[in-house]
Amino acid sequence: MSVAAPTDVSGPRLNLPDFCAARAVLAVALICELTAVVLTLARTGPTAQLWMDLARTSLFLLWIGLGCAALLCALRHYLGRLSLPLASGVALGAMVAVVAAVSEVSLWMAHGAWFGAPRSALSAAGEAWRFRLGNLAIGAVVAALALRYFHVSGEWRRNVELQARARVHALQARIRPHFLFNSMNTIAALTRSNPAQAEEAVQDLADLFRATLNDQRQHITLAEELEVARTYERIEKLRMGERLKVIWEVADLPATAEVPSLLLQPLLENAIHHGIEPRPGGGVVTVSGVLDADLIGITVRNPLPEANEPAREGHRLALANIRERMELMYAGRARVETGRQGDEYVVRLRFPRIDATTRPPA
């Protein structure tokens, strides 16, 4: 298979806030301070010892918090290059190391009885080890929770962005003004010569625009999407006549499978716009589909424009749009491959079958 590999092969990355930024450092300091207040209140209660205990705990936690922030800030480029599990491990290790280091320093200071720590409490060897191990365990659990939280909230933010962008792209990429005005012109001609056909063309155009502009649903069934693509084909066929031929080999496709709306129609539009329109003699577009276990494969092929014809631009937008929306729906389990195969241009989609009935109704 000579189809080019998909461009995005990188796996998921660890999402961390930018700990070099003042905002994040302030947030870390605040969280440490609040935690210190909670711990002190729980441990000593509102007694005379409260302020001393709070000062010590705050100092200890702030060192840990700011140390972790500084280390993650310094490591951010390095972490960005690692895979998700590896980066999580390294970040966790770094934070536990900071806890260990700060614990050691506080032990050392306790020996010197700075801050008036009761000498007996931490100087006993057994107490010191309990202090170290306890801190490490707490540090590891809190660091793991924090990493998980950062990652999930980062993913969520990325998804929201992706979704918003996909919507905007869907609107921009869908309406080729050329198509709209050409269709209007065709209908104007048919109104005189063949009113019945003109009426049908107006209905087709309305259906197509409804699918493009109005449909609030993100997903539709494959059968519906195929119908939208066929509607589009009918309109183009009125205009281009014998020059356009579309072969549908889609009997194997599961009609009830859910797909992002406008998955196929833009591909057909691209194939006609770039492959058929520039050729004086026209050509054939083939849409074929297979179902392999629970994997759906759809292929759209069109002839390449002849060598001395200027290439038309602009098919990347629609493809990028489809890639994004498939990523949103199938999260890493879908592939979009494009490339030349002999004298044809081929777009191949592959995605898992998700049936409408297996999902709760939206």
Partner: protein, 245 residues
């Protein structure tokens, strides 16, 4: 006024509608319809229409190129471009004061355009074609004939040569006199043709090799024609470099 009109559009419904519009009033008479640029030029030579309604966007030869070739006709027709939507083209037409109609065409606009239908000078068309960016280079070279314009596909051209007055186009079947200057041709087709001498521009893939005679003069050996073309001394190095690639 009854103009004799030729309709050129690759889409049958678009042609049909223009014909219906013209025939619905006293605007003129449709003398022919063409579905592509080459057919349009062939018909224009024989039918000598007054006005050509010419679609800008057609497969193969686009409307701007057709218009440039039509300017070579003994009686060049007035050109009115039609386009469904070309933000860019419309802007260019306005700048060059060229007649154009937006599809679907309104009867009153068509009437106004046919009335105005001023002869479009070829320099304006050349400028227009130049601004059209990707479509700047023609796909054919037009040769003026008594009965119309004969088109030579660019792919069949072996070389262009010039003496003081004329530019000659040599193709596999013979040679023709054309109106374009060598300098303009080089500018337009610089990517496919290579200058070998002050007076010759050769299609790159038609060069079979270089030959040196007893006097030390280099000549280009052609694929598809027996004659040799002199290579000017200062271009020998550059040419060798290019042919190696």
């Amino acid at each position: 006024m009854s103009a004799r009109i030729l309709i050129v559009d690759d889409e049958a419904p678009a042609r049909e509608r223009l014909r219906a519009l013209v025939e619905s009033g006293p605007l003129g008479e449709v003398v022919g319809e063409a579905a592509n640029g080459e057919e349009a030029l062939r018909l224009a030579g024989g039918l000598t229409p007054d006005v050509v309604l010419l679609d800008v966007r057609m497969p193969g030869m686009n409307g701007l190129e057709v218009a440039r070739h039509m300017a070579l006709l003994p009686a060049p027709p007035a050109i009115v471009f039609t386009t469904a939507y070309d933000a860019y083209a419309v802007e260019a037409f306005e700048a060059e004061a060229v007649g154009y109609l937006l599809k679907p065409v309104r009867t009153e606009r068509l009437a106004a355009a046919l009335e105005r239908a001023a002869r479009l000078a070829s320099p304006a068309l050349d400028r227009l074609a130049g601004r059209e960016g990707q479509a700047a280079a023609r796909t054919h070279i037009g040769v003026r004939r008594r009965d119309g314009v004969h088109l030579v596909p660019l792919t069949e051209v072996l070389y262009f040569s010039a003496d003081q007055k004329y530019t000659t186009l040599r193709h596999s079947g013979g040679s023709e006199l054309i109106e374009d200057s060598l300098r303009a041709l080089e500018e337009e087709f610089g990517s496919r043709f290579v200058r070998v001498h002050r007076n010759a521009l050769v299609q790159r893939h038609c060069i079979a090799g270089l030959e040196r005679d007893d006097a030390g003069q280099y000549h280009v050996v052609l694929r598809g024609a027996p004659e040799r073309l002199a290579v000017s001394r200062r271009l020998v190095g550059e040419l060798r470099e290019q042919l190696r690639i």
